[in-house]
Symmetry: C2
Subunit: 247 residues, 2 copies
């Protein structure tokens, strides 16, 4: 029965503890995390509005807005008399980065991790091939900047390396100029984050990964579609190896 709001009258702690900066975002985040975490299982019913208000210390307006948002993301369904029930996992918009961000520990969800990696092996090589065909000068510059960012931070700042790695894959997908693939960057972001959490920062692994990234970049630059696809495949092989070795 924790309390989100700063509660009563006396003091005023300016910050909210969870999620976004606004009250209803905090409610959305709390309920979403609780659903993804399994506290409210699919098929189960959430507490009534009134109870949620009391539980979270917010007004009905915020709770109702939060329920609407969760409903928009396919997590719950609100019916008139029956209250709010959690929908089965198949209807959850797991490709929504926000929803994926509510997962308490992606790296421990075996089905999700393998599904994400499998999906990456399906569409990232294809994205690289399309990028080799369509990348503009700006796209190439973006990808190259990411590679440079990886190289310059390799022995040191691990966080910067991760961000550059993410920027690299985002750049390749953006260079594919495909609307659907661009809709998958959120999923990719979550997948990479999970990978970074599992894969320890091994020097050798990092240098291998860097050379694979360079190979993808060069293949795209010279418009070698098959080479780009193959280089991306090798890159994902390395990632899968690291993931498997550590898992």
């Amino acid at each position: 029965m924790e309390n989100i709001a700063p509660s009563d009258a006396t003091g005023w702690m300016p910050s909210l503890d969870q999620g976004g900066a606004s009250v209803h975002n905090a409610v959305v985040s709390v309920l979403g995390s609780r659903i993804l975490g399994g506290d409210y299982a699919p098929g189960a019913a959430l507490p009534r509005e009134e109870e949620l208000c009391a539980m979270l210390g917010v007004s009905r307006t915020s709770v109702r807005e939060a329920v609407k948002v969760l409903s928009a993301k396919g997590l719950v369904e609100a019916r008139r008399r029956a209250g709010v029930r959690v929908l089965p996992r198949d209807s959850w918009r797991l490709l929504d980065p926000v929803v994926l961000g509510w997962h308490p520990s992606i790296q421990d969800d075996e089905e999700l991790v393998s599904g994400l990696l499998e999906a990456r092996r399906i569409f990232e090589p294809a994205a690289a091939e399309l990028a080799a065909r369509r990348a503009s000068a700006a796209d190439l510059a973006e990808i190259e900047r990411a590679v440079v960012g990886m190289r310059d931070n390799i022995p040191g700042d691990l966080n910067a390396v991760c961000q550059a790695d993410l920027a690299f894959h985002k750049g390749v997908i953006a260079a594919s100029h495909n609307v659907v693939l661009k809709g998958l960057v959120g999923m990719l972001e979550a997948a990479l984050r999970a990978t970074f959490l599992v894969t320890n920062p091994l020097m050798e692994a990092q240098s291998r990964a860097l050379s694979a990234h360079v190979a993808v970049l060069e293949a795209i630059r010279v418009r070698d579609t098959a080479g780009a696809r193959g280089a991306m495949n090798r890159l994902l092989d390395i990632a899968a190896d690291d993931l498997h070795a550590r898992g």
Copy 2:
């Protein structure tokens, strides 16, 4: 300045004209369609809450809930003093079937149609390959039922054929047992609907498509992964041909 609500006091027309069954769903649907239709371009600001209320004939509560939903789907962003602004298309959750359903005419959006088909050619053959490896008896029965549904309605009910076709592709993706791929069924649904709108019901095309579907089913049944991938590729070749011939 149309009015969603039944307006004033005298009469009471029970039905809402747009979208779902509830008021806020109607508002969401109207605003979403208007954004997708280009009436509110990316970067532009929506009218103020008060104006939207007057324009749609609903209360601020409904408008605000609708804005929250649209914000959850990445269409708009509400900032305090600046009002509600439409976000760039890249942040729209186009993989959300609801969002895609707001598109006024998918078949006329060249970039979207080609992007959808391209995406299908990337991940549907892969899904067929995975299905050949993992399909359960129930999965196979579901796919087979869809094929039978296509065959039995081929000369007659076009709508039933389309539904069976959709069920077929859904079944293959479900049989792949991949979380990410299952998240793409909404996109697939919109893609198929757009295809059906363009491709006229040619007898020869339908029979060709049917045999291709049967080939995919048989390959999955005998666990022929490469065959399933190839058959799905041929199926998509046919679809692309029909689409191109008519486009």
